[in-house]
Symmetry: C2
Subunit: 148 residues, 2 copies
Amino acid sequence: MTSFTNSEAYQVIWHIRRLFRLLAARSDEHISDLGVTSADRAVLEFLYPEHAFTVPELAVRYRVTRQHVQVTVNRLLKRGLVEQRPNPRHLRSKLIRLTSRGRKLFETILGRDQEAVTALFGGLPAGCVETTHNTLRTLLERLEGDPQ
Amino acid sequence: MTSFTNSEAYQVIWHIRRLFRLLAARSDEHISDLGVTSADRAVLEFLYPEHAFTVPELAVRYRVTRQHVQVTVNRLLKRGLVEQRPNPRHLRSKLIRLTSRGRKLFETILGRDQEAVTALFGGLPAGCVETTHNTLRTLLERLEGDPQ
DNA sequence: GAATAATGACAATCTAATTGTCATATTAGG
DNA sequence: CCTAATATGACAATTAGATTGTCATTATTC
């Protein structure tokens, strides 16, 4: 017998939706001057700091179509923020990873975010943040593990 | 001295982003057969169960442009899911509220969501959900209260 | 070695949302 | 009470992120 109400759980969902919109708006302000779109940013985030994935792999992780990721990755390649590396498991589909420029740029993004995050979370009891983190991670794992 | 790490706080943000995308996809599957878009849904959610707002008021709440809400509300009006009521504070700008059909429809949506939510949250300790709820609400209030 | 599947590229389309504009109605100030 | 400033609704064009569909080519598997 869990004793949280359905409405409480539902509100968590609702808050996630609202927070996303507000955070996205805030975050875009932070990084718009860097010429990085939120799609770019998502890919950079998956690759940071030293991960290497193929385009189709990124698409699976990001849960979008490979075509969409392809366009984003091509844009990042052109800007020299990511690079292709030989893929031992697949001759044609190269591994994508950050260049040092890309890593540096994403660290700039991270730094700005962290500032904002620090301000946003300031004064919250540590336990709350930890519990929230763990709860959200659990939800995420459940949703990701069961991709309908 | 708060003792959560910045990275922990940052992960909360990151999780919110990922959860939003997964939840949105999941939620859209639930309601797509009802002919309700996510914009429709957001408006219905604001009006449920008995709230009445003008279009500009809804736009402020939803943090989108009034033009966008206008289009959505017009669509809902045409479908008979919301209705206009005289506004004591403004002659021209009517109050929008749910019709009984709209309320019923949104309850269907709610019901489906609740099922999914129950499945998703099943087995989580009640305290975690409550703490998460409160933490997210606080973040939301901070972001909403300080609209840049 | 042939059949099947995966990849990259490209085009068209979609949806949620934005910005800009206009006429008109409404409100608030003098 | 009248005028100036503002708010509203309607409409058009555009944007961004993403989808679906298609095609040629390359890999993988049987």
